[in-house]
Subunit: 265 residues, 6 copies
Amino acid sequence: DFEEALKEVKPAFGVSADTMDSYRPQGIIPTGEKFEHIMATCKALAAQVETSERSPILSCLLEGAPGAGKTALAATLALESGFPFVKFISAETMVGYSESAKCSAIAKVFEDAYKSPVSCIVLDDIERLLEYVSIGPRFSNHVLQTLLVLAKRQPPKGHRLLVLGTTSQLPVLETMELAAAFNVTLNVPLLQPAEVTSVLTATGAFTPADAQGASAVLGDAVAIKRLLLLVEMACQGLGEAPHPAGQRPTVPLERFTDVVMDVGS
Amino acid sequence: DFEEALKEVKPAFGVSADTMDSYRPQGIIPTGEKFEHIMATCKALAAQVETSERSPILSCLLEGAPGAGKTALAATLALESGFPFVKFISAETMVGYSESAKCSAIAKVFEDAYKSPVSCIVLDDIERLLEYVSIGPRFSNHVLQTLLVLAKRQPPKGHRLLVLGTTSQLPVLETMELAAAFNVTLNVPLLQPAEVTSVLTATGAFTPADAQGASAVLGDAVAIKRLLLLVEMACQGLGEAPHPAGQRPTVPLERFTDVVMDVGS
Amino acid sequence: DFEEALKEVKPAFGVSADTMDSYRPQGIIPTGEKFEHIMATCKALAAQVETSERSPILSCLLEGAPGAGKTALAATLALESGFPFVKFISAETMVGYSESAKCSAIAKVFEDAYKSPVSCIVLDDIERLLEYVSIGPRFSNHVLQTLLVLAKRQPPKGHRLLVLGTTSQLPVLETMELAAAFNVTLNVPLLQPAEVTSVLTATGAFTPADAQGASAVLGDAVAIKRLLLLVEMACQGLGEAPHPAGQRPTVPLERFTDVVMDVGS
Amino acid sequence: DFEEALKEVKPAFGVSADTMDSYRPQGIIPTGEKFEHIMATCKALAAQVETSERSPILSCLLEGAPGAGKTALAATLALESGFPFVKFISAETMVGYSESAKCSAIAKVFEDAYKSPVSCIVLDDIERLLEYVSIGPRFSNHVLQTLLVLAKRQPPKGHRLLVLGTTSQLPVLETMELAAAFNVTLNVPLLQPAEVTSVLTATGAFTPADAQGASAVLGDAVAIKRLLLLVEMACQGLGEAPHPAGQRPTVPLERFTDVVMDVGS
Amino acid sequence: DFEEALKEVKPAFGVSADTMDSYRPQGIIPTGEKFEHIMATCKALAAQVETSERSPILSCLLEGAPGAGKTALAATLALESGFPFVKFISAETMVGYSESAKCSAIAKVFEDAYKSPVSCIVLDDIERLLEYVSIGPRFSNHVLQTLLVLAKRQPPKGHRLLVLGTTSQLPVLETMELAAAFNVTLNVPLLQPAEVTSVLTATGAFTPADAQGASAVLGDAVAIKRLLLLVEMACQGLGEAPHPAGQRPTVPLERFTDVVMDVGS
Amino acid sequence: DFEEALKEVKPAFGVSADTMDSYRPQGIIPTGEKFEHIMATCKALAAQVETSERSPILSCLLEGAPGAGKTALAATLALESGFPFVKFISAETMVGYSESAKCSAIAKVFEDAYKSPVSCIVLDDIERLLEYVSIGPRFSNHVLQTLLVLAKRQPPKGHRLLVLGTTSQLPVLETMELAAAFNVTLNVPLLQPAEVTSVLTATGAFTPADAQGASAVLGDAVAIKRLLLLVEMACQGLGEAPHPAGQRPTVPLERFTDVVMDVGS
Ligand SMILES: Nc1ncnc2c1ncn2[C@@H]1O[C@H](COP(=O)(O)OP(=O)(O)OP(=O)(O)O)[C@@H](O)[C@H]1O
Ligand SMILES: Nc1ncnc2c1ncn2[C@@H]1O[C@H](COP(=O)(O)OP(=O)(O)OP(=O)(O)O)[C@@H](O)[C@H]1O
Ligand SMILES: Nc1ncnc2c1ncn2[C@@H]1O[C@H](COP(=O)(O)OP(=O)(O)OP(=O)(O)O)[C@@H](O)[C@H]1O
Ligand SMILES: Nc1ncnc2c1ncn2[C@@H]1O[C@H](COP(=O)(O)OP(=O)(O)OP(=O)(O)O)[C@@H](O)[C@H]1O
Ligand SMILES: Nc1ncnc2c1ncn2[C@@H]1O[C@H](COP(=O)(O)OP(=O)(O)OP(=O)(O)O)[C@@H](O)[C@H]1O
Ligand SMILES: Nc1ncnc2c1ncn2[C@@H]1O[C@H](COP(=O)(O)OP(=O)(O)OP(=O)(O)O)[C@@H](O)[C@H]1O
Ligand SMILES: [Mg+2]
Ligand SMILES: [Mg+2]
Ligand SMILES: [Mg+2]
Ligand SMILES: [Mg+2]
Ligand SMILES: [Mg+2]
Ligand SMILES: [Mg+2]
């Protein structure tokens, strides 16, 4: 079940685990084969960075629709790498920074990483780091050029680096030649009906039958982030009676449908 | 009646109530079912923020035509949330600020909110915060990027936040991906003839029959802000004789029609 | 006659009257019904600001072709309002100011106005305040955003404000959403032939018959500012003999026609 | 003849005459009726500024093709106005100035002029003051806004001002609404064949017959500045024998034709 | 074999050899005739710079698709030139520099080079030095103008300079007239199937038969950088048993095919 | 022959001759009639500046394809003018300057020139001074406006100035109205086959027959700069045996053809 699923991805080691966890606020629920394949490919890259003599730097871009789970995946992979230096670069910690302050902060993380024998850096929501907006379009070329160089630059001899990026704007990053600066690009897919059903069941808030009914209310491709929010809203105010700790009340299908009507799927 | 209607929304608690009231200078007159539905949906969100373990931040965008009553609604919801920290972010208090001063001021409010266990922040007239103008178009990307991040950023553990935004430029905010940063988007509609009639009656300035006649003078979709201004203008100079405190003189239909002719509906 | 007409609009009170007068260098000659209607509508707004409890801020935009008399009208209305605080905001007093110096200066006037129980602010030639030029187009978004906010911002409780704006670029201000920030927009029309005739007669420089002939030389829509300049040019060098103080020599029709040929109507 | 012609326009009074003369390096040769008409119209404006009570500021824009003689005309008119304050504003004295230094310098001249009872300011080559270039187009909006205001601003009571502008970019100035800021716009025409002939004769470098032949070599519309340069080139190296002071050798028609072939007309 | 191939290009002399080597992290594997021809042409230029009296500066632009091996070639040529002053200019060492800091750094290298009797400067990844991005497009014109001048400027008398540039954006550099500032432009081609086969064989990770099979899995034009990465990935985790130092395990064809499927060719 | 040709243009006087020579690194080889005509026209201008009372400033723009020899011609003319003040303004000496530093430097040269009774200033490669790039296009309007003014400004009384400009972007300079600021524009043509043959012969590196053969290998219009580079390359490594000082070995036709194949014509 859901709680079980959560435990599965608890990182085995210390330090930044706490903060990292905030990047997957609703934990990780395995969603099926595609999910496993992405995890496996990324783990192979991590292993290669750690062991191969000839690839001191490898990079992987996780791209997909908003809410597909990119950030949560990247955080999970970073945590599970077990590398001694793991760092998350996110616009959330740089609110109000000037372009060049952002560049410095980013470069600083890379410089720090170069001091560790093997490191993992997550560049989360790259379009946000770039201050990208499609009107214009506008973005920080200063940050872009910094990323274009850092994503490919060799660490000093004897040091290794895995770079994980996330974005929901792949075409933009391709036009900017930034996607090409990554060795590998992987798509994080939206959920298809069967996956939705199994995630809903895993949450413990639906009977298996209702889970399927609820899935039918939604489209063909659902963002897991949105799905979990809808469940949360549907759970809202259900039964004032106390439930066993951490266990959710069961959501009637009609209530779920109402929520979807009200706030959109 | 009108004065009664006003009392209905008086906030139950202290502090910033005074200033907030200035954001709904003509009080709140319930306009019907749609109005109730918006209020209910937003209140459910407020309740969820307060109680659910899994949604420490929820956000709702109130969008609609100029004068539809978005700001008044947001102010009312913020006041009625009863949250210990309630703050209004408006361009009106930042006249002449530089882009980065605006960003700092906005970020400061969020940082302050993070210190309260549960807070409500109103981002009023987002296009004004963004310094948006359709020629160009131009806007402050610095402010935009700040809002894109803050509207989604998780508060620190154990803290919760409700963000209410208002805008009359939904398509623009959609293009900027800022609408998508809100969990829910609700339309605040213009008034239809029946609603206009009932608002006019509620003001106490029209006989029910004249209220209907006055409604017919106006279009199919009327902004409540404009409607109340027209009433005010029509009341102007009517009867020098003193009226019971707070009670308005009755407006003859022809006078209302003249005002509409003169200054447009 | 002309001198009589001038006296009609002398302000009843002190202080800034002198400077204000410089904004209507050739006085005010009543031009007919439309002129009276504009004056009446604006005066009603002034009265409403002064007396209504529910409209502490009202604003009116006077728009019309170059030279139509917008500035002179706004100055006259401001002077005649009799409000204790009356201020003219014009680009003429801000030559060479930076964008933000302009914003500060403008905001300062509003802050000052908020200290008076009831005030009138004229925003003259708004496109000039905005540093607007149609090539680009370019303009100061900083000033625009300042005006967008100030034109709608509620004064502090117990204070009232009338804002009069003038512009010959209504479509531009509409695109900028600045026109919509005003409660009322009034067109200041160009003069039609009959009005031209009566203005020419009022100047005392034409016999009634010649006034009509002179009117025929001009187009269907004449700017009063241009008309008075043409009269002035035609008067030039006419009769060296002294005239009773302030009285003009009569202009022969041919001379007027020659001037129009030379410098355009 | 040429020397005679030059004397005709010697200013009757002192001070800045010397520098002004540098703006018409080859003197003024009367070119015919159109020339006289422009001079007369401008002189009438100067007289009106000096005497009329109601037009304390008048402005005239001299526009025409490059080399048509606009600057020389403006300098001549300014000198001959006999006004106690006469000042030339030219980009030549502001090389390397920043936009705002230019604005200050320009505004300073106007402020100085306001101290004199009656003044004349020449705004030479306005497109150069504006740093205009058609690619973009680019120009200094700061300078433009300064000129838009200064060209119309009333001097303080009791002071009068004549503004003369020159430009070869009338359509640009019209788009910028700067042309409309001038009361009058006059075209300075290129020379037509008969005028060319008479100018060539006036230079004393051609026999009347050759002057006509030389005129035929050139196009239908010739810039006087170019014409005088071609004459100068053709004179080059002609006859080493000394000529009576200031008198030129006669240029053979073939030599003139050769020069035109070599360097273009 | 591979190790042998590597030795072939070891530079004969000291100093910056170490750092330079980092620009060809996987050594140089001779890829065939075209490779030899490029090397030969560039070496002739180096010789000419060293000996000819009349060409104190010569420049060569190596252009080709991403990963074609341009940087590795330039580094190799620079090292093998044997010139006493050899310097690499790369965006990698200028992360976060302002435009003008970049210009200074670049100009400094040239100034230093002018002090040596004969020097070689590599301008690596010129589009990165220019901060080029195709959106806009944007780039640093300041850096561009610096390169346009430095690439052609004569060293002081008695000093000689060879400039090698690399780019994967030839059309852009042509539009910028920067390509034309180089005396010679050479294309570094992608590998064709036969060349892929021979490179794969040279790596020692494939049997000759499998090398051909692996080549067939890839397209018609393969970047050597990508090819070597795919080999590296395919080698990953193959056989835990120790191998003779530096010797690789043999990669089964299916494994190589899987890797290509997973991460793209 | 070549060495003879070189001697022909040695300047008769001192000082800046040395540096100037660096602007024609391969000397001047007379290329025929057109070459003589350009030289003659420019020398006539120089003479006119020196002697005519009425043209204290004259300017000539040498325009032509890249490598046509514009800079070498301008340097030669400047040197041969024999004027006491001769100065070269080139982007090469202003690498990394800011726009306004460039303007100051340029203006300084003109101010210095005004102190000499007669001066010659070369504005070399004007598009480089303007930091022009066709993408955008971008350029320094600050420098452009400076040149627009300085190219026409009269020196102080009694001082004379010849301005020579070079450019390979005539259409751009025309659009900027900068070409029109020059009194004369002359085209420096590419070499036609017969001229190529005679230049090749003059170099002493070809037999007359081979010179003709070599000319046939090239196009119809050859830049002299490129031609001399190809000769230099072809000479490379020819015959280790010592040659009489300054005399070149003869280049076999096939070798020349090979070089052209390798590096393009
Ligand atoms: N298998 C899973 N993969 C990813 N996320 C999961 C999974 N199971 C549960 N989640 C939860 O779903 C949410 C995914 O949101 P996340 O922020 O990672 O999406 P995202 O694609 O980065 O969104 P955005 O486009 O807004 O950046 C997180 O709250 C995470 O805890
Ligand atoms: N039911 C109601 N809902 C909203 N506003 C109401 C209602 N009843 C009365 N009002 C009054 O109507 C006015 C609505 O104006 P408000 O400024 O909120 O509109 P808005 O949509 O924010 O306008 P804008 O587009 O200019 O920002 C306020 O004065 C408010 O007091
Ligand atoms: N009835 C009138 N209304 C307006 N102006 C009048 C009237 N009678 C006379 N005038 C004179 O006409 C002139 C009108 O010029 P004014 O500057 O007000 O026009 P404007 O529309 O503001 O022009 P602009 O478009 O240039 O700003 C003033 O000199 C004013 O004194
Ligand atoms: N009648 C005349 N009118 C104008 N200029 C004359 C006349 N007779 C002679 N000239 C001479 O012709 C030249 C005209 O050049 P001027 O600089 O005034 O032209 P311009 O139109 O201002 O050119 P530009 O477009 O370059 O600014 C001057 O040298 C002037 O002395
Ligand atoms: N013959 C060869 N030529 C070039 N590179 C080779 C050769 N043999 C092996 N290599 C290796 O191939 C890789 C080529 O990558 P390199 O960075 O030089 O390509 P690039 O064209 O500069 O790529 P980018 O477009 O990313 O700048 C290097 O790791 C180099 O060691
Ligand atoms: N008759 C000649 N005219 C011009 N240059 C010659 C002549 N004879 C030999 N040369 C040599 O040819 C070269 C011409 O190059 P130059 O730099 O002057 O051309 P350019 O047109 O200025 O090129 P660019 O467009 O790159 O500025 C010089 O090295 C010069 O010494
Ligand atoms: Mg994310
Ligand atoms: Mg609002
Ligand atoms: Mg006005
Ligand atoms: Mg001029
Ligand atoms: Mg490279
Ligand atoms: Mg050159």
